[in-house]
Every structure is written in structure tokens, then in C-alpha cells.
Symmetry: C5
């Protein structure tokens, strides 16, 4: 299956706006968790039906509804009803091949982002939707995971900045976790790239080209997921009517810079990787030249000498040299002479 663009045969011939999961189903039954807090109180709960969320949202406190699992069409439909989300955008939530983007509507702001995970081999992406409404934050993830645990822990500490701020600060904190992770992954890949240098110069390994290629691919994958995220944040900052307060937008500026830093680092490492391949090729070429020189010297010196030895191994009845008293000595003199001249020739050509 193509990794950079997902298989869409499921949606082929479907009316636009149909709710169909594009991507693979990563868990069985969706799980819904609620955190409801303000500076004074904190409620944590796991609910079975999304309708129960209504009770929390109606209050004054900040409600964070986290849904794990986006493959259940009914659930997504109900989410659309409760939070008043257009079916067009519901479709986007279920299409895990969606590019990161920012959506702004009268009753909510939404970000579709990618949580990236790097196993050391390959980067994989999980689509995360963050919807910021009047006094709630709704997040949708493809599967149960511990991505947002640091935020959860911060909420639990009742003197944390999240508890003292509104729901838009929570949305920012969640995005900050995702963005921070981007820089961590780039840093890891960057370390791989930089470590490859030593290998390239020692040229000990035949798989260098393969490793270089892998790094390039992963950097492409990062770029594909992070560049539109930067655009999304920029769009939000430019939007006058967003659900984000000016205070939080100041923090968002920081996020924007992190994303700019991320994209520039990706560009930088991509160029570095290209340079590495060129350098590696140049070194291989250089080495081949060395090998060729050794071969040429050996062959060019010994082939004529062997020919001469071959001549005096012939069985012609009449070969005057063979009968000379110092024939064998003269042969050696000839050999040394020819060999010596060839050596001088190669020295002149600077091959020795």
C-alpha cells in the first residue's frame, strides 16, 4: 500500500460527504474520556455514549472530551449532531489521509493534525482532530495512546496554568505537545543523518546508500505532515474571529515559530542528506579509481614479464638464447629492465 497517499478505493463512486474511514481501523470499540475542570474542581470520567457529554458541556467549566477510535460511523454522526459539525468536516475527520488543516466555523475552530511516532525505522502518523468550541475541547484520535498524558497530568495539578486558563489554552497545550514531538523526531532523524557522516568517510559499509535513502524518505514524510500544520497555525493566527483569545494567540506565535524551525530543519537535513549521497558516490568513485590503479599496475607490469617467460618456455628446437651461458642471467636483467621502466612510467603518471 502506498504510504504517502492512502488507498481510496473505499470512497470510489461514493457521493462526496459520505462518512467512510479512509485508512486502517486501529482499534475495536471507541473509548470516550471526559475531563471537566476549572481552577477549583476537576472531574474525570469515561462515558459510554457520547450523548452523556451534553451534561458536562452545558456547565461553565472547561470540558475536554477525548474520543479514541474514529472508525464508528454512528458515533461520528452523533458527534456531528451534538457539536453541530458539518458533514463535510465529519468526512475529513474519518479520512486519515487528510492533510493537516485549520477549519473555522461560527460555532467552533478545528485543527486536523498528525501525531507522529518514530520507531527508529519508520515514522508513522496518527490523525488527531482538535475542536475548540464555546467551553469545550473535543479531540479525536485513531487509537488509545498516551500522547496527551503530560497534559492530563498538568490538569490534575490544580495550580497548573491550564487550570487557571480557558479552554483555548487547553487546545494550545494539546497542540504544543504535538508540535514539540515534531522537533523531537526531527532531532532523532537529524542525529541519524549526522551519525552517518562517520560511516560515509570510513566507507566501511555497503548499505550507506540505502541508509541515506531511508533518511531522505523519512524527511519527506515529515515534510508532508508538518508543512501543512504550519500553514494551519498561520491561518488561525490570521483569523480575526477565532475562538482563541489574544493571550493564547501569543502562545500560538511560539508554536508557529517551532513549526517554522521544524520545517527549516527538515529542509536543512534534506539538503545535507543529498550532499551525503553525492559525497558517498564521489568517495566510492575515488576508491574504484584506487582499485583500478592497483589492478592496472599489477597487470601491466606482470603481463609483459609473463610473456617474456612464456617465450623461453617454448620448445622450438632452434632458440639460440637458450643455449647461451648467461642466457638465464640475461633474462633476469631483461625482466628487471622492463619491470623497472614500467615502474618509472607509472611513477610519471603519479599512480605510485
Amino acid at each position: 500500500m502506498a504510504r504517502f497517499l492512502k488507498d481510496r478505493t473505499v470512497t470510489k463512486g461514493q457521493a462526496p460527504g459520505s462518512l467512510i474511514l479512509v485508512g486502517s481501523k486501529k482499534m475495536e470499540k471507541p473509548v470516550i474520556r471526559i475531563m471537566d475542570y476549572n481552577s477549583g474542581k476537576l472531574d474525570e470520567a469515561e462515558i459510554q455514549n457520547i450523548e452523556e457529554a451534553n451534561r458536562y458541556i452545558s456547565g461553565d467549566s472547561v470540558t475536554w472530551i477525548n474520543i479514541y477510535g474514529i472508525h464508528d460511523q454512528d458515533l461520528i454522526n452523533k458527534v456531528g449532531d451534538i457539536f453541530n459539525i458539518k458533514s463535510l468536516y465529519l468526512e475529513d475527520i474519518m479520512n486519515t489521509d487528510q492533510m493537516p488543516k485549520y477549519i473555522t466555523e461560527d460555532n467552533y475552530d478545528a485543527f486536523i493534525l498528525k501525531m507522529l511516532e518514530y520507531t527508529g525505522e519508520k515514522i508513522s502518523a496518527e490523525q488527531i482532530t482538535i475542536i475548540l468550541g464555546k467551553n469545550y475541547v473535543l479531540t479525536l484520535q485513531e487509537k488509545v495512546g498516551d500522547v496527551f498524558d503530560p497534559v492530563r497530568n498538568r490538569i490534575r495539578s490544580h495550580k497548573s496554568r491550564i487550570r487557571l486558563n480557558n479552554n483555548d489554552y487547553l487546545a494550545y497545550a494539546l497542540m504544543d505537545v504535538i508540535t514539540d514531538n515534531y522537533l523531537h523526531i526531527i532531532e532523532k532523524i537529524g542525529r541519524n543523518v549526522e551519525n552517518l557522516e562517520a560511516k560515509i568517510f570510513s566507507n566501511a559499509d555497503n548499505d550507506i546508500a540505502t541508509e541515506i535513502y531511508r533518511n531522505k524518505i523519512e524527511l519527506s514524510y515529515l515534510r508532508k505532515n508538518i508543512r501543512p500544520a504550519k500553514e494551519a497555525v498561520l491561518n488561525m493566527i490570521r483569523n480575526q474571529d477565532s475562538f482563541f483569545s489574544q493571550d493564547t494567540i501569543n502562545y500560538m506565535d511560539d508554536l508557529k515559530e517551532a513549526l517554522i524551525h521544524a520545517t527549516e530543519s527538515i529542509e536543512l537535513y534534506s539538503n545535507l542528506v543529498s550532499d551525503q549521497l553525492n559525497t558517498h558516490n564521489s568517495l566510492v568513485s575515488n576508491k574504484m579509481n584506487q582499485v583500478m590503479k592497483v589492478l592496472t599496475i599489477f597487470a601491466s607490469v606482470f603481463i609483459p614479464l609473463t610473456f617474456i617467460a612464456g617465450i623461453y618456455g617454448m620448445n622450438f628446437t632452434n632458440m639460440p638464447e637458450l643455449k647461451l651461458k648467461y642466457g638465464y642471467l640475461l633474462f633476469w636483467i631483461l625482466i628487471i629492465l622492463v619491470g623497472g621502466l614500467l615502474m618509472i612510467y607509472f611513477k610519471r603518471k603519479k599512480w605510485l
Copy 2:
């Protein structure tokens, strides 16, 4: 025949605005199909003369006239008369080497787009014109095909969104089919590209460079057809006076994003393909280096040894070594010594 720019000798020396088919004639007699519907009723018909379309258009319902075959100059002329289309644009309809574009006039909006088909080997393009007038949609295709069948089926289902909306939604639905198909084709080519990776690393196949080139060519062909389509949609969205209602323009936004996604994926895969060629070249070079080393070691070790053997095969009458009791043994000691030293030399050079 050049595939990326079609042969224009037919139009050479012609006055601009002459109606001449650029491209190849793909069917014999044009076919005209009509679907006339609103939420309540649905009429389907095949008409012989385009003039009969007048009867349907005059009504309140949405009329979709689909013409297969654009090589008939008379027919196109009549279409121009009935729908009041400038001869300049009629010429564009018949020029299948036209780039995708958006045309806006007082009495209609038009899109010229390319329907792409991928046989697994090559992508071919069919030019499709979609004209959106007051209460009709006129489509022109190069040949009879089943491209729009999913839309037809949706119209036939009387509770579909198309039936509940105006003709601009129909135009959108048709464009959505075309755009969706772009992503399917890119996904297929992308899969080819990604599958090639394994081949490159096993290096089992000599035709890798050829396959890489083919992928590159098809991606160029995709870019040529899809990039201007994106521009066309953007132009339409920017146009204040288009025949598209605000509601449909919201859907068009989705189309725009799909096209952006498509062009970015093409770019991504193009870069990936270039990287693959570089990596493949690097691996071939590496392999050649390995081959060279093996050759050099074999030749460099055995050529001097053969020379020594050659010496003692000479027939000089006076060769003292030959008569030594342990001459043969000493010869073997010499051989092992020389061979061993060469081996150490190559080990030092890290060729072993």
C-alpha cells in the same frame, strides 16, 4: 507523435477561431444523452439532434446534456448557437490539447478538464468540458465512457443530494468524480513507486532505471493535467459572479483541497523517484566497486605467481634453481610468501 504536446499541423495557417479537431477522433457518430430532473421527477432520453435539447432547457428542472464525441464541427457549431457560446471557446472545446481552465461568461461558467485513465502502463487523457448555465449542465466528452455513471446512478436514486440541489451541485458532483479519480491514479502510481524500493535494494533487476524513468514520465503527465485544473478551481472560487451558489462553493473548497493534495503528492513522488534513481545509481556504483575489488585481488595475486611459475617453465640450459634438490619446495615457499604478502597488502587496504 509527441504525447505531451499534440500535433497541430491541422491548424497551421488557419485563421484563429476556426473549428478544427486537434487530437485524434475517438468515435464515429456523436451521441447525445439527456437527464432532466428535480426532486420530484426524472426524465432520461437519448436525442438525435441537439436542437431537441431546447425543449428540456426551457423548463424549471435541472437539465444535464451529455455529448459524447466532439469531432463533429456542425454539432459544435449548433451547440454554440443554442447555448450562446463564443466561437473562441468552441475552438477550445475541439482542441483536445487545451490546458485545463475555467471560463466565465455572462450566461455560463465553463470548466475544461481532463479525465485521466491509467492502464498500469501509461496514463491517457480525455478532455471533458463542463458548462454550467442558468438551469442546465452541458458536458462534452471525446468518446462514450462510463466515467459519470456513479453520478447518473445517484441521480436515479430520488433521495440523493443531487436531486435535492440545483444544477451547480450537479456540476460540482461531476468535477468531484474527475478529481477523485486523480487521487486514485496518483495512489496507483505512488504504489508502483513505493514498491520499486524493494527492487532497488535487492538490485535484482536491470530494468530499474527504465521503470524509474517511466514513473517519472507518468508523474510529469499527471502534473501537466492536474496543476492547471487546480488553478481553474481557484479561479472559480475567487470569481464573485459565477453560476455556483455559495453552498456549492463550500463543496468546491473541498475539491480545491483534493487538487492541492494531488499536486503536492505528485511533487512528493517526483522527488522520491529522483531519489530512487540516485540511490540506484549509487548502489550500482557500489556493486561495481565490489566486482572490481574481487577482480583486482584475483588478478593481482595470481598474475605474479603465474609469472614465477612461467620462469621455471623456461628451457634455459643453465638454470641452477631447477637442479636444486629442494628447488620445487623452495618454489612453493616462494609462492606462499608472495601470495601471503599480497593478501596482507589487500587486508591493509581493507579490500578483504
Copy 3:
């Protein structure tokens, strides 16, 4: 002589604005042809002195003055006086190394364009100046040619669109001929480029790199001449006070699109040509690898065997193996063993 930038030693040290021909003189005596027409009448004449043109221009009809030969300083000076053209622009007319451009003045609009000709080997350019005044069109060409004959023929047909329109339509028709020709030449080069593919894959020909380079050069030459022409047309369309009527500007839009199509096709083919060179290099490299493997297998198998044979050709008096009854048989067993092991080794390395 540099083909992409012409020799300017003639103008070195000259005051700016001096009328000097940059480029080579392509004909002896300038020729001046007049076509004077309106929907009712048509006059054709060849005049000796440019002053005679005055008689035609003063009338109401459209006057087309076509001058072949721009090397005659006196003639160009008189043209400047009669049509009231700044000496700065007269200099541009005579400088055939001028880039295509659009000039707008109070009393005329002017285009400097390049008519391209492709002999199958090389593209050559002729500079053509089209000046559109109140009721005349003045064209200046480097030499007598049949470029504009199709337009002349259309004028002769009294029901042609040219006859029914003003002089700005004539100017457009002339530019259309030039632009159309661009697409024809690109299509021809494009066909060359696409045909090269087969050669590259069969790799039968050693001159592939040369042919690829030639295609690249010609595409550069095309780009150099066509890109500024596009800019010139865009400038004209943006100009509010041009001598072109709104109707003709609509046609110019078509021209603009043709030029955009042309420049994009050039870009596309340039990339294709680069890809071809890379692919060709990769295939050559691959082939070299094949050649190397064959050489290595042959040399590596037979060199040790020859060494063994060499040993038993030695003349040591005391070589026990030689006297063994089955010595020769044992030798063959050894040979087959060594050869077999080497074969297995190469099979392991996947060289066989």
C-alpha cells in the same frame, strides 16, 4: 560566434541611441510592401521609397506596411520620421539581439518578437517588429520570407474576419501566426525528445548523450525567445491605453494562453530531457557493471587455473607429482574442484 548573446563589438564605444545593426545582414536591398484594405477594397503594392507610404496611411482604410531588411540606417531613420518613433526604439529595431518586448507610446504600440525556424538541426530566430498606429500596421523583418503569407491570403479573401475588422485585429493575426509557429516547433522538438526514449532503452547508440544535449540546447533557445514574448503580451493586456480594442484583447487572451502553454511545455520537455540523461547514464552504468562481472568471472576462474597449469609446466628436476601414475588425472580433478568452488562463490554473490 556566441549564438545566445550576439557579438556587440560594433556598438562598443558608440553613443547610446546610435543606429547600428547588431547581428548579421541577411539581405541586400530592403523591400517594402503595402496592403491597404477595408471591407470593400484591397490595394497591394511594392514601393521604392518609404515616403510613398504616407499616401496610404492618410486614408481611412487599414494600411499594412511590411519592410523586409532592417540593416539600412537611412531607411530606418526615415521610418522613425514618418511614423514618429523615438530613436531609442529605432535602435532596438536594428538590434537583433533585442529580447522580445512590448513598447507603448502615445502614438503607437509596438511588439518586438522573434520568428523561429527549425531546420531539424537547429532553431534560428528572425526578429520581427510589429508597430500598431492609428490606422496602420508597420512590420519590419530581417529578410524576405513567407511567414505572413497565410495572413496575406486571408486578407485577399474579402469575406475574411481580418477585412471586417480594424488594424488592431491585423496586428493580432500577425502575432497569432508567430505564436502558432512556436507551438509547432515545440511539438517537433517534443517529438524528437519522446522518440529518443526508445533509443535510450535499446542503448544501441553512442551519440545519445550528444542528442540529449542538442535537445536541451534547443529548448534553452526556445525558452530565451518565448518567455519574454509571453511577458510582452501580458504587459499589453494590462495596459489600459493600448491601441488594441477590447474585442481584440479577448483574442489576445487566447494568445497569452498559447504562450503560457508553450512555456510550460518547454519546461516539461526540459525536465524530461534531464531525466533522459540521468536514465541514460544509469543504464550505461548498469551495462558497465554487467561487462565488469563477465570480465571478473572469466579472469577470476581462469587465472588461478592457468597458474596451476603453469606449475606443472615447470622444469624442476624433482617434482614428485609429475611422476605419479594418475598425476594428470589428479590435476584435472583439482582444476574442476577449484573452478567449481569459484563458480559457487560467484553464484553466492549473485553474479551468475
Copy 4:
């Protein structure tokens, strides 16, 4: 550790805005130095507590507070309190992986810049923050260094322009030192790059590819640090409400130009380095071709000759040639003939 993007594990899971040093701690205890001056007087002091700075700032004179060491969280916090700096920006000061940038607030302007140092091997960066407030300049450096000593000396000379101007001129002078240093480093690397040319053409050294790569890397590192600095200065100049007077902004224009010059020189040298690698590869390839030709000529001439000699070394009982009187002579004639013909063949191929 990745050099282009620093390890951020320290901040993982931390709330945004936490004051944590990203990068390595470069000194033990922070040092705070004060210079307090106007045209008439100059005070120099080293203080233990940043609070003591308050005494100087309250006066009319220009106060320059220079802090060496940014790893002490408490100190940075106090700095934030005294100078009224947002915690978000305090975090930036401690994050040595910050990109250069310009911050503008109601009560101060700030620049985060990188002081670069080139050991001849590698460029290293030190983060320097320059904060310009009402009548003070606050600078923060990672470690004690002599970067700003020339500025200090100029302050000590009581008729220097710095003493006669306000604190914004001091800020400019500090930035000028940093920018000037950029050009010095680029010039040094440029010299390395240009000196490499001779090596490439003599091709004496095998490490050319490695050296070229090192130059490329250092240029990337320079670009990463200098390009955002240019942006920062441009942002400041565009800012209407900065703490910089119009006079100093005129000087800043000069700085801007120096930074543009720097970035363009980096671009230029990067291209030059790429061209060097390509040229080097081409020369290696050329040389390999030479080596191959020598090998081929030697092998192709002597291998057939050795074969002939081998034939007459065979021990068949019945070999008529061996018994011919002039057999040996005929053999030599054959050898010279075959060798000569091969020589002619190679001459034809222009290998000799």
C-alpha cells in the same frame, strides 16, 4: 548529538513556558558586568546580584548589563522581574536552539543572535541576547568571552561615538561586532573553498570529497544562523515603534546590507562547492578512463601474445612448427605482426 537541531529531551512533557536550558551548560557561576556611561562619566563594575543593577538603570546615563551564563534559572527569573520580560521570552533566552529573531514589546526591543566561532575545523555558535530598554542595554551570553571587548574599549575612550550617543547606538555597535564577525568567518571558509580548487585540479589528494563536504556542511551551518538574523534586522527596521532612533536605524541599514551580502556570499559559495564536487567527480571519472585505457592496451596486446607463446610451450610430440629451421624467427615475426596490428587498432580508436 545532532548539531543542527539540539536535543530537546529535557523539555519533553514540560509545560510550555518552563525555564529549562536547552543546550549544554558552558560555565559554572554566572558573571554580571556593568558599564554605566554618558559623554561625561564612565562606571565599570562587576556585581554579584542582578538586583544591584537597579541602582544603575534608574539613572540618566546609559547602562550596559552584560550577563555571562544563562543556565541559572533563578537569575533568569530575576532578570525577568527586574526588566519586566515575559516568561515566554525568558524561555527563549535559555533555549540555545532558538533561531535568531527580533522581539518587540512595549518596554523593550530584543534580538536573539548567534555569535559564531570558527576553529578552522568547525563553526560553533554561542547564543547572544541583546535587550534594548528605556536607558539600558542588557546582553546575555552563554559563557565569558572577549567578543564585545572592542566595544568596551571604544566606550572607555571618552570621545568615541558610542559615548556621544544613546543606548540604541550601543545595541547597534554590539550587533555590528556580531555581523562583522559573520563576514570574517565566511571569508575564511570562502578562502578554504577557493584554495581547494588547486587541489581538485592537481587531484593529488583522496580526501577532496571529504573536504568539499565539510565546506558544504559549514556553509549550511552558517546559513542556518545568519539568514534568520537578516530577517530579524529587517523586521526591526520595518517596526515603527522600536526603541531605535531614526539615526541608529540608518546605521542598521548598513547592518542589513552586510547581512544580505553575507547570505548572498553563502549562497555563492554553496553553489561553488557543489560545482567543485561535480568537477572533482568528472576529473576522477576522466582519470579512471585513462587508467582503464592503459590497462586495456597492456592486457589486450600481451594476452594474445602470451597465448601464442603458450602454444609453442606445449609438449605435443608432433608439432611441425617447432622443428622448422626458422620457426623461432617466424614466431617473432608473428608476434610483431599481431602486436603491431593491435597497436594500429588502438591508434584508430584514439587510445594512444
Copy 5:
């Protein structure tokens, strides 16, 4: 010394605005020449002290003061006083590593440009400053030269356009000489580049890569000096308050176009040079492939044959073949058979 960025150690640690020569001192004592003219009169003089210029400037006529030699700090200081030039710009005049630029002040306009000289080997640059004040033109050159002699000669001819116009036309004429020279140099390099083609295809020369590189370097050097000159002229044309009259600005438009033509030609030739290197590499690679094939055929055919001959040169006492009557004949049959089969094999592989 780095050629693309000059050594700045002289300015290290200096206060900005100090007058120090960056670059090498190209002459001993500065020389000052005056031309003072209007349509009626012409005064030429060489003065010793720049103060004497005051006498000329005060008059109504156009005064051109040409200073050769910019290393004399005192002179430059006096120039600053007399013509009221900011010390910042005086510094620029003495910094020969300055990029070309346009400066506009209340009392003068200034251009810093580079006069280029091409010896056939290398391009060298001389910095020329042209300052246009109320009724004077002040030019500063690094050394005495004949660059402006054509302008001087035109001034001497009393009916020349320069004499009839104001001082801004003189400034234009001087810039025109410089710009014209750019095109001459590009044309010369272009000719070198285009002539290299033949060499590449004949592949007679080993220094092709070196020559290609030299061309590339010189083109980079041209770009570095000409591109900012274009920007400078564009800035001037955009400037509403410049000392240039509208008439002269029309001429400047021509200059602008020449500079655009120059930069585009440089770009074109740079691409051409890159294509040449790629083509050259491809041809070398192709040739190596040819060489390899010849070697492989020779070695692969004769090595097995030599092995066979070696076998029958062995001295085993019991080798039945040796005693066969037709042994030698059979040997030859075997040889021809093996050789023939190998030939067929290589024919199959299309190596013959």
C-alpha cells in the same frame, strides 16, 4: 585570498564608519581630473587638491570630477566635506568589497558599480562610484584607466548629445559604458562556453571538466557583480525624488533592460555549462564502457585459450593427448571452437 569575498581583517574591531580601504591599493598617488562644459564651452584640467574643484562646481556648467585612487583617507574625507557626503557612504566608497548599490540623499544620488575586465582567463572588478549632485558628476575609480575615454571623446565633440544635456545625462552615459561592457564580457564568455561544445563531443581533451568549471566560476563572478547593479538601477527608476530628469530616466529604462538581458544571459549560460558537464560526464562514461568491452572481450577470449595451452605445456609423464598423432590438430580445433563460442556469446550480448 578569497576572490568572492574580500579579506576584512583590516576592519576587524574598528568602529563602524571608520574610513579604511578594504581591498588592495592599486596605485600610488590619487589623480583628479576635471571636465567642465556646457553646450558652448569645455574646460579640461588636472587638479592637485580636491578643494580646487569648488571653483568649477559653483558655476552653471556641468562639472565632471574624476578621482583615480580611493585609498587616500584624507582625500576621501575632504570629498565628504566638499560634497557633503555622509561618512557611512564614504566608508562604502573605500570598501571595494561593497555590493553594487544605489544611494539617494537630499543633495545627491549615488551609484556604486563594478567595472569588469576580462583577460580571457579571469574577470577582475574595479569599483566605480558615480555621484550625481546639483550640477556636477563625481566619479571615483580604484586606478587610472581608459574606461571612460569614449565618453570623454564624446564630450570633446561639441555637437554630441552629452554636451546638449545636463549632468544627469552624463551620469547615464557613464553607466551605459559600464553596462555595455557587461554584455561584451558575457558575450566573450558565452563564446567560450559555446566553443567548448565541439571539444566535448570530440572528447579530445582531458581538461574539459576544468574548462567547464572555469566558465562556471566566471559566470558566478559576473552574476555576483551584475545582479545587484540591476537592483540599483531599478531602485533609482522607482525613486520619485532622484536627481535624474524624466528624459534621462527613459534612457535608464534601456539600461535596465540591458541589465535584465545580461542577468538572463548569465543564467542561460550557467545552465548550459551545467548541461555541458553532465554531457561530458555521460560521454566519458560511455567511452569507459567501450574500453571495458574491448578489455573484456580480449581477456575473456584469450584467458581460457591460454589456460588450455598451459595444460599441454605441463610435464606430467603420463598425458595421453600429447602422444596422439593429431593431438596438435585437435588442440587447434578445440581452440577455434572455444574462441568461436565466446565470440558468439559476445555477439549475443551485442558487445561486438
